[in-house]
Symmetry: C2
Subunit: 394 residues, 2 copies
């Protein structure tokens, strides 16, 4: 297709003599990452095919060398729903595992409009200028529906994206929350192996996203706006309990006094909540992503302090250990579910059982006994022989 087009306001005829032709907006994200439109993901796939096929070792070496293009392709591999990609991706992850775990993992949430992205851009840029390598990821379950709502737009985080030490990756779209979690966690591991010092994981308050992100980061930051009262209405209950710090953004100009008041309000509420991390007092702060005030103070005075202390008293290693294990447990649950409902005998048998239960011919408990028996006797064994993968991939 042509890379310019005639806008609707241009006159119909004599269009050649008429000068105005307009460039298409930028499609596709940074670093060869896909944007979320189906059309574009097709062009992406086409591009991938053209590129040299990489071996597991190519991926491992490239990631370890911090090659951003290969890192991006490794992530695309992890995000792929094709069984063949899945298998390669797992080999890559397995080989990179020893090189992971060295970064500072920070989760950032807040209601839409709280200014998460501008905050992340300001923070990330300052960290890069301080010589750090910063990766920005996103977890956005809504993207599975709305096809990518955060970080999906290249025009955001322009300054940060210009930094050589910054790597920005939008939320993978499609798939279940379980699949999304796996993809995000493994993307985080890839970035760590690629030598990124700080990984910022942005999320929106949709569904389970805060809990999901809390379960993969060391430090969880809640970005809020002035007017705690009103906002607390919209804020999902329990989110404050997850936070290791709350920062009132947009504390600049006329808004500054209001921000101080809001900060105090949050402090008051925090007083009644159990801190998210043992031996750590969650406090509220103010900052301005616009002027940059308070951003590095928050980083040096709070996040860095949290990491130092947590690494020293073992809280962080224990947290990461528990995070990984509970991730294993939740994947097990998901797999058992998939194995059951995808097994031929259940697919065949379930409708009849449902009818009998609904018609009151079969008690629910008996129904479950019989379903489990059927499943155990036949499906599962068969399922494994046919190597049906229980992961959320087609």
């Amino acid at each position: 297709m042509s890379d310019t087009y005639k806008p609707e306001w241009a006159p119909e005829k004599d269009s050649d003599k008429f000068a105005s032709r307009v460039m298409f907006g930028v499609k596709g994200g940074h670093d060869g990452m896909p944007d979320s439109s189906g059309e574009n993901s097709q062009t992406k796939r086409a591009a991938v095919i053209k590129r040299k096929r990489l071996t597991v070792d190519d991926y491992v070496e490239g990631v370890l060398n911090g090659d951003r293009m290969i890192l991006s392709r490794a992530i695309t591999l992890v995000e792929s729903n094709a069984p063949v990609h899945f298998e390669v991706a797992q080999q890559v992850i397995q080989k990179l595992l020893p090189y992971t775990g060295k970064s500072t993992r920070v989760g950032i949430t807040g209601v839409p409009g709280a200014g998460k992205s501008t905050f992340i851009e300001a923070l990330g840029t300052k960290l890069c200028e301080a010589g750090q390598k910063v990766a920005v990821l996103a977890v956005d379950p809504s993207s599975t529906v709305t096809k990518g709502s955060i970080l999906g737009d290249k025009t955001r985080m322009e300054n940060l994206s210009r930094q050589d030490n910054a790597f920005i990756r939008p939320s993978p779209s499609g798939g279940t929350l379980g699949g999304l979690t796996r993809k995000s966690r493994e993307t985080l591991l890839l970035c760590e192996a690629a030598g990124y010092d700080t990984i910022l994981v942005e999320t929106v308050g949709v569904g389970q996203s805060e809990t999901t992100v809390r379960s993969m980061v060391d430090f969880f930051l809640l970005v809020v706006l002035t007017g705690a009262g009103d906002e607390l209405q919209g804020m999902k209950k329990g989110v404050m309990e997850l936070a290791d710090a709350i920062v009132v953004n947009k504390a600049d100009g006329d808004n500054r006094p209001k921000a101080m008041v809001t900060r105090a309000e949050y402090e008051r509420i925090l007083h009644f909540l159990r801190p998210a991390t043992e031996n750590w007092k969650t406090n509220a702060y103010t900052c301005s992503a616009y002027t940059g005030d308070g951003i590095m103070e928050l980083w040096d005075g709070v996040v860095s302090k949290f990491m130092e202390q947590g690494l020293e008293n073992g809280v962080i290693s224990e947290r990461r250990k528990q995070q990984t294990l509970s991730w294993v447990y939740s994947m097990v649950e998901e797999h058992l579910h998939n194995l059951f409902y995808r097994s031929p005998s259940i697919i065949e048998y379930m409708p009849r059982v449902e009818d009998e239960v609904v018609e009151g011919k079969l008690s629910a408990t008996r129904a479950v006994q019989e379903l489990i028996k059927k499943f155990s006797a036949t499906s599962l064994k068969a399922g494994i022989d046919n190597d049906i993968t229980p992961f959320d991939i087609k």
Copy 2:
């Protein structure tokens, strides 16, 4: 043990001359139902052994004849954690299934102190006086920990318990929420088969209890006190969304005006919520369990109207259908979980996998793949051959 004892305030010596000896409080509930203290459940078991052993048909016949003693024993059977009892119980349920589904199932919740029990006693008594047979059940997950906090005490609901048409059963204690749910649902079915017209299921706002009860009743009632604001703090978020009606209790004497205000407050909030039942507008009402004002008005004007309308437009049959099916699905999930974690190969293999994952030798995803493979190949098949029941019974 003696049925009297010397209170601590009685003088040490000359205790024989000293008159004061005090009777023990009543142990054990109505209708030979167990109270929740471990000691008592032993005496109960002893009693059961003495009694004539009943066959499946004895149970079925007895329940259908509305024999309260046999109904109680059938419920005890359903609540038993012994596999042999479980099997008999299931045969009884299966045979009684055709006689269930005819009652009005009402769930009643509210924060502790809202006066649920007094409300239920007042309502139940009036319904009995109106010629109805009323069963009162309780679902209280906390009882698994605190050993029965609601309906556990015989001294409550004294008036109602004196009614011949009333049957009161405390929450079964012990076991998981899943087990508790099964026991409660099957108890409800037994009561229906025994011809109870109305089944009132009381629950406290602990854990998932509201959702659990909502998922087994037609109509869900939230009992609240005056001062919506303060109470809403303590109220679990989302409970109002489950309610088909909200009733402000203790609307008597000086408290009446305040109750009217509170009612209005709730109406205002309800205005913003999606009703729990389609084609039904959830409203707030006032009543007094003490004076009886508003109780039958609520029953005739709201609950009965709800049932008529719901039975006519099919909402209730559809709700019951969905309730039973989702119960089947949740039991399936629980079973798969139990089958997995109780399978010998996983019990043996899991610790090693956990270590390797924690030490970073094995990726979480790989770990899950291997666990599922191991499980599928060996445990499940074996588990079934050895007839390990995946239900929450020992």
